[in-house]
């Protein structure tokens, strides 16, 4: 608790921290509401912007963007049936139907309060789980870290049984990008293709900017006949909050969805989209008589509380173990690196102020969502959603190249950004998941060094990876994550055959 107090003091005694919490959250709401932009792109592009900032201030801004964008996506999902972010896909099902019935303001109010609830609970989970897990991580040796990384990759690869081969390929691509450069063990140059620039490896920040920022620009530019602007005129919709009776009705949905969001968020590699679908499905199972999909408050409450629950909890494995919970938290890893902070137990021991400031920032930004969403929805949304796509895309491109250069003051990083922009675009066209690739890239170095240390420890006998207790648990979880979707898919095809 004393350490948490450090974080509270760090934020509340520094006006810049408070200011950037507000600015970051508002920027996140704007970016989240705009289809085509999301928190990962924005954070990737703005990380170099945080260079000269105090780490705590930088984390306030990034936490605000992450939390804000997650909620902002619901605005365009409800008003236009175009989810601003992947996390708002499910919100569009009931949210837009409510808007068509003239209950758009109420849908926005439910989305806001659900997001605040989910986000605040997740911040408390982060506050208590991350330091606790970091202490347990002291029991982790090289075999445990290797198995943890394997489990993280297995969880994301196995999430969608129909796309396992594509997930495996994206994972292999990410692992390959992590081994480019001089090997940390033997100092041997690997896969640099004779380029001096690649000797240091592929820098994370320019790669993130290319994969998420530049590839999104390519997606806009590929449209034949020029960029189609948004032509719909959106009436100004005033937010309306639910009454007490409705709060009592949706509270169990909030609890249920927040638990799902927290569990999914903590699993390394699992994404927000999975959490929102699971929460919505569970809500349908818990309330089978309710007409989900026709415009009911419960249909908005479930996904919105789940997706904001993921924001804080996805930081737990990152801060405690150095394993990102999802692509957005992988971006935080880049921010931590830029500020010279190492994740894991050392973070809480050696740099408690910025670590706890980050945790408190998530809590504060989740609370700030309430007043800022009122301002955004009532006064800004209809203007933001009319922003010309040409100007917005051009802005993103300029931010991308500026950020890529500024990350290390090296024009070669712009080349890396362009190259990964093309890689990202090709991956998008072939439906190869970029989140898996980024996760594998981040985990790759850690995996290799821990694997080689394990080989040395065990004299080449790899049975160590399944005989040590924590390794055994992680190996069992890995097997479950990989086998469960295959078994479920086989059961489903048997049922379909019987029905036929």
């Amino acid at each position: 608790m004393e350490q948490l107090w450090l974080g509270i003091v760090e934020i509340f005694t520094n006006p810049a921290s408070l200011l950037f919490c507000v600015l970051g959250t508002m920027l996140g709401l704007i970016v989240g509401a705009l289809p085509g932009l999301n928190s990962t792109i924005t954070m990737s592009v703005l990380i170099p912007f945080t260079f000269g900032m105090n780490p705590s201030v930088a984390f306030c801004m990034l936490a605000g963007i992450y939390v804000g964008a997650t909620t902002g996506g619901s605005v365009s999902a409800i008003l236009l049936k175009i989810p601003g972010t992947g996390a708002a896909v499910v919100t569009a099902f009931d949210g837009h139907e409510m808007f068509k019935k003239g209950q758009g303001g109420l849908a926005l109010g439910i989305a806001t309060t659900s997001s605040v609830f989910g986000g605040v609970i997740a911040a408390f989970v982060l506050c208590f789980a991350a330091p606790f897990l970091a202490k347990q991580a002291l029991r982790f040796g090289p075999p445990e870290y290797f198995m943890l990384a394997v489990m993280g990759l297995a969880s994301v690869v196995g999430m969608e049984p129909k796309k396992m081969a594509k997930n495996f390929l994206a994972m292999a691509i990410g692992l390959f990008t992590s081994i480019i450069g001089i090997s940390p063990q033997g100092g041997v140059s690997r896969y640099t293709f004779g380029l001096f620039t690649l000797c240091e490896g592929v820098s994370l920040v320019p790669m993130l900017i290319g994969l998420f920022g530049v590839s999104s620009i390519y997606e806009v530019l590929e449209e034949m006949g020029g960029v189609a602007g948004l032509t719909e005129t959106i009436k100004n919709v005033k937010m309306r909050f639910p009454d007490r009776k409705m709060y009592r009705t949706i509270l169990p949905i909030w609890m249920q969805s927040t638990i799902i969001g927290n569990i999914v968020g903590v699993i390394p590699g699992a994404g927000m989209t999975i959490a929102v679908f699971m929460a919505y499905d569970q809500a349908k199972r818990s309330y089978p008589k309710l007409p989900f999909g026709t415009g009911i408050p419960e249909g908005v409450a479930a996904p919105e509380s789940a997706n904001n629950a993921v924001t804080g909890s996805s930081m737990v494995p990152l801060l405690a173990l150095g394993v990102p919970g999802n692509a957005a938290s992988a971006v935080f890893l880049g921010a931590l690196m830029i500020h010279g902070l190492r994740t894991g137990p050392a973070l809480f021991r050696d740099n408690p102020k910025p670590a706890y400031a980050l945790i408190v920032a998530f809590l504060l930004c989740s609370i700030l969502l309430l007043p800022l969403m009122i301002i955004f929805c009532n006064y800004m949304a209809s203007y933001v959603l009319r922003l010309r796509k040409e100007v917005l895309t051009s802005l993103v491109l300029i931010l991308c190249v500026t950020g890529a250069f500024a990350s290390a003051n090296n024009s070669a990083d712009i080349a890396i950004t362009i190259a990964f922009g093309l890689v990202g675009y090709i991956m998008l066209k072939n439906k190869l998941p970029m989140g898996t690739m980024i996760l594998a890239n981040v985990l790759g170095k850690m995996m290799e060094s821990n694997f080689l240390q394990t080989l040395v420890m065990a004299d080449g006998d790899l049975s160590l990876l399944v005989t040590r207790p924590i390794c055994l648990i992680l190996a069992a979880l890995t097997a479950i994550f990989l086998a469960m979707p295959i078994v479920a898919s086989l059961k489903k095809s048997k049922r379909e055959q019987k029905a036929a």
């Binding site: 390929l169 292999a172 100007v391 024009s411 290799e448």
Partner: protein
């Protein structure tokens, strides 16, 4: 086999070739340096082969080249490469403004005033933020002060 199918198949074929390259280079690496790359190569090869077989067994295509303006993509890539080459010679402000003007035009905006004003405004804001407020060095060339 139509053009879209050939383009779709090119991706797994490329990764099969890449995995073979990774494996061959890994064999030449000393000691244990090649172990992890070999594991990656095997994973990449196996998944690419599975994807290739699935693609060859189906006639459906997820890529549709008729809906993609390839020329636009090539042009913006060339513009970015030129930008990377000239930024240190010409300076951040001039090179980024030129890139901004070109990209705004390529994206379809035709109002000449807006094509110039928006990029200039954005670049100036970023310049002030990065160079003056945050002390992040940006190449200035002959505009240095």
């Amino acid at each position: 086999m139509d053009k879209n199918k050939r383009v779709e198949i090119a991706t797994p074929v490329f990764f099969i070739a890449l995995s073979i390259y990774i494996f061959i280079v890994a064999l030449t690496l000393p000691d244990v340096e090649g172990v992890f790359p070999m594991m990656i190569a095997v994973c990449m090869l196996a998944s690419s082969v599975v994807i290739l077989v699935k693609l060859l067994r189906t006639t459906k295509c997820i890529i549709d080249l008729t809906k993609i303006n390839v020329m636009n993509l090539v042009k913006i890539t060339m513009a970015l490469i030129i930008y990377a080459v000239i930024i240190n010679r010409v300076g951040y402000i001039i090179s980024t403004v030129l890139l901004g003007i070109y990209s705004t035009y390529a994206l379809g905006l035709r109002d000449l005033k807006k094509i110039v004003i928006y990029p200039v405004a954005i670049v100036l804001v970023l310049f002030v933020s990065f160079k003056l407020l945050l002390n992040v060095p940006l190449p200035m060339a002959f505009l240095d002060f």
